[in-house]
Symmetry: C2
């Protein structure tokens, strides 16, 4: 492997994917989910990149709303990557995110060789991926803006295509071509033609030198350039929202390809998928004898070609073909697998009528752990609350509700109206309304409590925070 | 209406219907469910019959397991019907149940005119039903065993058919025929022929004189007769299990029709349905513009001819046709509506692997009210417990678990290790393991508590009862 000590990677972790609803929600999008195994897609991405880049040189760009969750997931693998998490105050497509991360790196090292990767894709063949990245670097050091292109396998209509032209004479493991043209998601007829003509799928992965990128940004998007180079943590919330929403392709790669031959694409095969809808998840799981993919408690009779994913309920099916059935704690999707690309329209309808169901899960992540609403009825609400070792909730007060806490595992440290005390498993306490209180886990195992809230108003916004380890108001 | 002061009705409430799973369960079969409106099918049946018979003359035969639930449902309408609930120690088809109820009535009044009715059917046109019952009585007083036959509307293969012959010359509102033959559920070709030949559907409803029935029973089923006439509450558990499983049709009506002309059938139309599967429920509900029936939170796109019934989760559908989707708190059925008659095979499969899911609901009825398991995890379990006004749980003790109770509505009277105290809403108490304790509702509104159980073993069988208002051990 050729040594580039100034190698960096940028993980784009800003997606809000609705196409995997009800599993993905606005507050827990696809990249933060464990869709296969126990690692989330973000964690799988970080692990994959860490084979080629030092964890301290992993930069992650995410939305402010996901900051704690992203940091929590990275902390489990690479604590040294935490200080390089950039939180966007609002989503602005890929170009501003890449520009911000690149400028941050550029200030440390103008010669940095940067790879940019999505956080929510799957790659089966990691050594092929690493070979493609390394090949791309050979073109990047020649001042090319380089894409990783995927050898198209089938006339997919869900991907953009790249038309390659002249092959570059570089001593790379994989062929590298100049890019003649970018094509948006085509119809089926054109897609079939593109596959037979050897066009490549656009994976959205880029490799470039920091100084090359900054020069191109100044040339093709001078306004963005001028804003990015003035960004500081102080003015972020004023400047960032004014940036235009631009993709890397539309904002930089396409105009550059049109103006010069300085866009290149590596031609690779790596078992790549953007996991863009339920069918692409289905495609990557092993099937039973009737070509079904099932997860969880599923009992089926005369059911075939179906994808059945259940969280806690039993799903029993009879006489089905080609359906996707996805159950979460609060919603079930039942969908013809031929229609998975239309889920967005359904989710829009859900959002209109039941916005909580597209926004959050019943289990909600917090910087200190998570809570799950077990029952929400008039005058009372029951939550299971998990607090990570060493973590604490804010010192807080509620105007309208009292709380009963029962410790079911771990040890709780409670502050209640100025008094501090310990609760062991099978002990309980009562927090009257208006009492200042705080729950902390000073132990080494996860603290789990059952909270029964009583009151006429039980909204999450009835909270007055006096002191918060995570800077929340 | 002709006056028969010695008119009685017997409600057969022994069904264990699996064909409406997951809504119907062994411990809460169809007749105990409210499938339309707020009354259960049993309650609807009792109300319908009470238009023609005094509530004190309503007899109900049910399974021992359902006794408290049946009595609870009847108590809401006709407390005077409670003492006439007969509990079978085991299910023995319809003949033993009818024989037991008839013999019980016969001992009070040998001339009693008895109507026998299922507890889990729907009848739209109640006045037509009452007219048919009254017509049947005219033949019954002539010593006929009389069936209510339903004018067949379509070649249904799910019903038995009755071939009528000579019409009796009785001054009845509806035609009454002698019965020539009984035919079991036919295939489609035969069903079509039966409809065009004017055969009637066998509704399973009978009318007869008590003394007629006892005489016929002695003649055609002498062994059953001899056992039934010796039945007492003391020997019930020995004798009843030895009775043969026989239906009214096979055990009595068919041999009688073959031996004599003394079986009659009233020809009626009354909007009758046996609610035998999800399609018959579908047929009775009003449809939306795409011919869907929905209940609960349902959001659909391009979905038609489907039956979507949801308890608490949102069901979102896309691109479906002709499906039945039934969600309960612990199970979801997704089924081709063309296959609803095959649900039994699916339920058998579920029973094998997840027996609790065919047996009980997450909400379990008790003589004092009900409880719902909200979460069941290692080392803790959460229940919501509802106690009816005036009711109390047994004085009890657990070897392996402690309990934390939080009152969320109503007022609780608690006995805890010999001490009695009151808990209001938003108050809690702790029951350590091995403490004798009792929960009672001496108030006038329903008492609702949240119980958090802690312990290494949380099975329902860890209960030692010292004193129980309902005679349970």
């Amino acid at each position: 492997m050729k040594s580039f000590p100034n190698r960096y990677a940028v993980i784009l972790c800003g997606g809000s994917g609705t196409r995997l609803w009800p599993l993905s929600r606005a507050q827990r999008p696809k990249q933060l989910l464990a869709l296969n195994g126990d690692k989330t897609l973000l964690q799988q991405t970080a692990l994959r990149l860490s084979q080629h880049v030092a964890p301290s040189k992993l930069f992650t760009v995410t939305h402010e709303d996901h900051k704690f969750e992203v940091k929590g997931q990275l902390a489990e693998l690479f604590p040294e990557a935490l200080e390089n998490v950039l939180s966007e105050p609002c989503a602005k497509n890929t170009l501003p995110a890449v520009a911000w991360a690149t400028f941050t790196i550029y200030q440390q090292d103008p010669d940095a060789l940067i790879g940019v990767f999505a956080s929510d894709h799957a790659i089966d063949n990691e050594s092929a991926f690493l070979k493609a990245w390394e090949s791309a670097e050979l073109a990047a050091v020649q001042d090319y803006l380089v894409l990783l292109g995927i050898q198209s396998q089938e006339p997919a209509t869900g991907y953009g295509y790249i038309k390659p032209s002249t092959t570059l004479a570089l001593d790379a493991a994989l062929p590298i071509h100049q890019v003649e043209q970018f094509i948006e998601k085509p119809d089926l007829v054109n897609a079939a033609r593109f596959v037979s003509d050897g066009y490549l799928w656009n994976s959205g992965m880029f490799v470039f030198r920091a100084r090359t990128f900054m020069r191109l940004l100044q040339q093709f998007q001078p306004a963005v350039y001028n804003q990015i180079i003035t960004l500081t943590s102080e003015n972020l919330n004023e400047i960032y929202p004014d940036l235009p929403s631009l993709s890397m392709d539309y904002g930089l790669a396409e105009p550059l390809a049109a103006a010069s031959g300085l866009v290149a694409v590596v031609q690779a095969e790596m078992g790549w998928s953007d996991l863009g809808n339920w069918n692409s998840i289905f495609a990557r799981h092993s099937k039973d004898a009737e070509n079904n993919v099932t997860q969880g408690k599923v009992i089926s009779l005369d059911t075939k070609n179906s994808f059945i994913w259940t969280d806690d309920l039993l799903v029993a099916t009879l006489g089905l073909d080609n359906l996707a059935i996805i159950q979460t704690a609060d919603a079930i999707l039942v969908c013809d697998r031929g229609r998975v690309e239309d889920i967005k329209a359904l989710v829009d309808k859900v959002k209109l009528r039941q916005p909580a169901l597209t926004d959050i899960h019943q289990t909600v992540s917090r910087p200190w752990g998570a809570y799950t609403v077990l029952e929400d009825k008039p005058n009372f609400k029951i939550k299971r609350i998990s607090v990570n070792p060493g973590a604490s909730l804010s010192l807080q007060m509620h105007h309208h509700r009292s709380e009963h806490w029962v410790v079911v595992s771990g040890v709780a440290t409670v502050i209640n109206d100025g008094k501090e005390y310990i609760l062991q498993k099978n002990q309980s306490t009562y927090i009257p309304q208006t009492h200042r209180h705080q729950l902390a886990n000073n132990g080494t195992e996860i603290l789990s409590i059952i909270e029964v809230q009583c009151g006429a108003y039980l909204g999450e916004d009835d909270i007055v925070r006096f002191d918060d380890a995570y800077g929340r108001k």
